[in-house]
């Protein structure tokens, strides 16, 4: 009987013979390798955009800031909290404090229409009513121009991104919304974060203007430390008077970008799939060529007593080697070409100033090489089966 070790030496020796003959088929092997490299390049390229975008969105939010929404709400838009609830939240343990108490800002959020500077057409702008500690909660918010709004007055400060994009938002102008007029008193920046595309005012003024009564939508709170998140969260979720969910701000932004990153990924996989089909046929062609060129050699080996399975495995291995060489080159090229590539002109409506860099992570590269291997194996499978199933006597007659 033929032992396992023996079987391996069979496979190894045929594979070695196969691989040595690859140089005789340089052209088609190269075509397959280049095709697979192309698939990997595109796949990694597009996925690195998604990865980079997600990373940037995560960075927009802070780890030591918590967002509280009503249970079941995925966005601030669909959330709602009573004043009483926001008080309970502010009293929970784990929050940073200053002279005025806990750093927790109950906020609400409406969408208004303003004309764009570029086209004059109206577009949606988020207008946020914030509590007194809104600035203390957000570490990166800075006044760039003018002054902050006075509590109780119809005054707004405009995010730098919004100020750039929308007409009539310069300091000193008034914004007319329905029966209300809002005086622009300042412009603020937020370290390039999402807040820069918003317009802020006093929550207490926004509530009656939009008939919101005494309700809010969210509480944004600064934690005493990154580590106190769990205590804060547990206190709120175990409180029977509340029905809320608690997220880190960083998590929230990452989650908000899920749709977009999935969309980018989807496109990436689609393009890569189309290319993969092409590469699959290239690999298939190479391996059929490889097998066809060596019908008699393979038949000779089988005539000498080499097993069918050894033949199949050796053809698959050859195909795999070609695919992995192609895939690895594609991954390296993708890394050199895309990693860290800065995309700054992205102008998403809500994320107007989100600058991000393409990220070619190791897991992305491994993922791509796995795909390349799958293409290689599939490309080799049919020729391998063909090689093994052709009757020896028939194959030996071919010259």
């Amino acid at each position: 009987m033929i032992s396992i070790a023996n079987w391996f030496s069979q496979v190894a020796s045929i594979t070695l013979v196969n691989l040595r003959t690859v140089t005789e088929r340089k052209g088609s092997a190269l075509t397959a390798a280049v095709g697979i490299a192309g698939v990997v390049l595109v796949l990694i390229g597009v996925l690195s955009i998604a990865e980079g975008f997600r990373h940037a969105m995560r960075a927009t939010g802070a780890d030591d800031v918590a967002l509280v929404l009503r249970t079941g709400a995925d966005t601030e838009m669909t959330s709602g909290l009573q004043r009483e609830e926001t008080r309970v939240i502010a009293d929970a343990p784990g929050l940073a404090r200053d002279d005025n108490g806990a750093l927790a800002s109950p906020e609400l959020f409406v969408i208004i229409n303003l004309p764009k500077r570029s086209t004059g057409t109206d577009a949606n702008v988020p207008m946020r009513g914030v509590g007194p500690s809104a600035r203390a909660v957000r570490a990166n918010v800075k006044l760039e121009q003018g002054r902050w709004f006075e509590p109780g007055r119809n005054e707004v400060v405009v995010g730098a991104g919004a100020a750039r994009a929308f007409a009539g938002t310069d300091v000193g102008h008034t914004i007319k919304l329905g029966t209300h007029e809002w005086l622009v008193v300042g412009v603020f920046s937020a370290g390039g974060g999402a807040a820069e595309s918003e317009i802020w005012t006093d929550a207490a003024v926004l509530q009656p203007a939009y008939h919101r009564g005494d309700t809010y939508q969210s509480v944004l709170a600064r934690l005493s430390s990154t580590g106190s998140f769990q205590a804060f969260k547990d206190a709120l979720t175990s409180n029977p008077r509340l029905s809320v969910k608690v997220l880190r701000q960083s998590e929230f932004f990452a989650e908000q970008s899920t749709f977009l990153t999935n969309f980018i990924r989807g496109i990436g996989f689609f393009i890569a799939f189309m290319m993969a089909l092409g590469a699959f046929f290239a690999a298939l062609n190479t391996m059929y060529g490889a097998v066809a060129a060596r019908v008699r050699e393979i038949a000779t080996l089988r005539a000498l007593g080499f097993g069918t399975f050894a033949v199949i495995v050796s053809v698959l291995l050859e195909s795999l080697v070609v695919a992995i060489i192609g895939g690895a080159s594609g991954a390296v090229i993708a890394y050199l070409a895309f990693n860290g590539y800065q995309a700054t002109t992205m102008n998403w409506q809500t994320f107007s100033q989100v600058a991000f860099a393409f990220r070619v992570t190791p897991s992305l590269m491994i993922q791509a090489i796995v795909w390349a291997s799958i293409i290689g194996l599939l490309g080799g499978l049919f020729p391998a089966i063909h090689a093994a199933r052709t009757p020896i006597a028939t194959a030996l007659r071919e010259t």
Binding site: S13, A303, G305, T308, P391, A393
Partner: protein, 232 residues
């Protein structure tokens, strides 16, 4: 290998039918053949008469449509494909008209191939390869590739590969068919020596009466049957 009454190969009432589309080609019909251990049998016959087909049946490379093929007591026609490839590795040495060496391997590597199917260690394999190449007179060309050798030398490598496992029987399909007279004669002398000095059982297909003259017996295949005289 057990041989009752010294008969090593016993082919009985064998039919071989090939199908080409709807057409049936009856190549062998009720063929009988016995080969004694140590015999050097020449198999002759017109082109297309089925000589290679018969050789393939004996070597377990193809299956008879009907009838039995027994080699040293083993019923070749009843073995599974898997069992058959192991059996070939142990009992059959094949010599081809066009040598069928692997061009990317040196002479010694080519000869070593069948030994990869055995339990022999690397050192033992090397020893066997040395002996086999020595027997065919190519000890000095072990590191050469097939393309660096003449046809006659390549065929000697082919014979070394066939005998390196010390098989029960050597099957040669027109081993001199691609060689000039001189190289052909050297190959025939080699086969004759293997038969005479080492007691090898050999079945050799040939077109050449000059070649068959070296054999201990000649049979003629014609119209699906074997004859001991040339039916003309």
């Amino acid at each position: 290998m057990s041989t009752t009454d010294g008969v090593l190969v016993r082919v009985k009432e064998v039919d071989k039918v090939f199908r080409r589309g709807s057409e049936e080609i009856h190549v062998l019909t009720g063929l009988n053949l016995e080969v004694k251990a140590g015999e050097f049998l020449a198999l002759m016959g017109p082109s297309g008469s089925g000589k290679s087909t018969l050789l393939n049946l004996i070597g377990g490379l193809d299956r008879a449509t009907r009838g039995t093929v027994e080699i040293g007591g083993d019923r070749v026609d009843q073995m599974s494909d898997h069992a058959l490839s192991g059996w070939r590795a142990r009992h059959i040495g094949l010599v081809f008209q066009f040598y069928n060496l692997l061009p990317v391997l040196t002479a010694e590597r080519n000869v070593e191939l069948p030994l990869l199917l055995t339990h022999l260690s690397k050192a033992e394999r090397r020893k066997h390869v040395e002996v086999a190449l020595g027997m065919v007179g190519l000890s000095h060309r072990t590191r050469h590739y097939p393309r660096q050798m003449s046809g006659g030398e390549q065929q000697r490598v082919g014979i070394a590969r066939a005998i390196v496992t010390d098989p029960t029987i050597l099957l040669c399909d027109e081993p001199t068919g691609d060689l000039d007279r001189k190289s052909g004669d050297e190959i025939l002398a080699l086969l004759q020596a293997l038969s005479r000095d080492h007691g090898k059982t050999i079945v050799m297909v040939t077109h050449d009466p000059h070649a068959s003259a070296r054999a201990s017996r000649t049979v003629y295949l014609n119209k699906g049957q074997l004859f001991s005289e040339n039916p003309g």
